[in-house]
Symmetry: C2
């Protein structure tokens, strides 16, 4: 079946959550949002392109920072309301210059910083 | 710092997206939602407990199917608006009886079923 981005289920703002996973290490890097056009652009260009809710604009990941995400594969979930992209991440996925946005652990009721800025 | 579920950022419906990842294989299994009480219950019980948007009720994963998720670790992202839980998954994470909900690939413009029901 031909994949049509408009057949996905978007929220009231026209967005779908997207999980980015490192294709090599399998580390979960971040979660962000795409609209149908961002999904299409990501597939067309191979550059992972989100929709920035704060800027209300396309957000080609790494365009200004150089910390790009090259698309390796895209998957759709069973409900068609979430995407998983596996990526080749250059540098930090997180704006705090850490490898992943998920650098805070919850351990026996305490928040623990699991990694420091690397890039 | 003591972790307080009420300090996370929830959407207008009081929910936060949660990514579940297999602690052993690192496969991304599913994405679902929790409210602050579900986050607290998950930590207290060690049983991953979502909030079902369709049923408007707590959803202790696997309670009826037996396909439980035992919490291994919880992480918070940089914006405090997404959680990652690593889990020990018994059986299928997906209601279609597949290992993961992300069983549909998008390959050269086509949707491809990457795995069949296993459980």
């Amino acid at each position: 079946m031909t994949f049509d981005p408009t057949t996905l289920t978007y929220n009231d703002a026209g967005l779908i959550p997207v999980i980015a996973q490192d294709a090599e290490t399998l580390e979960v890097l971040m979660m962000a949002w795409m609209n149908a056009e961002a999904v299409a652009k990501t597939l067309e260009t191979g550059k992972v392109t989100y929709w920035s809710r704060s800027r209300q604009a396309f957000w080609i990941k790494g365009e200004t920072s150089g910390h790009t995400q090259a698309l390796v594969a895209m998957r759709v979930d069973c409900d068609r309301d979430c995407l998983l992209v596996t990526v080749r991440q250059i540098g930090a996925a997180c704006h705090t210059m850490r490898r992943t946005c998920f650098y805070t652990g919850v351990e026996t009721g305490e928040e623990v910083e699991l990694m420091v800025p690397e890039f």
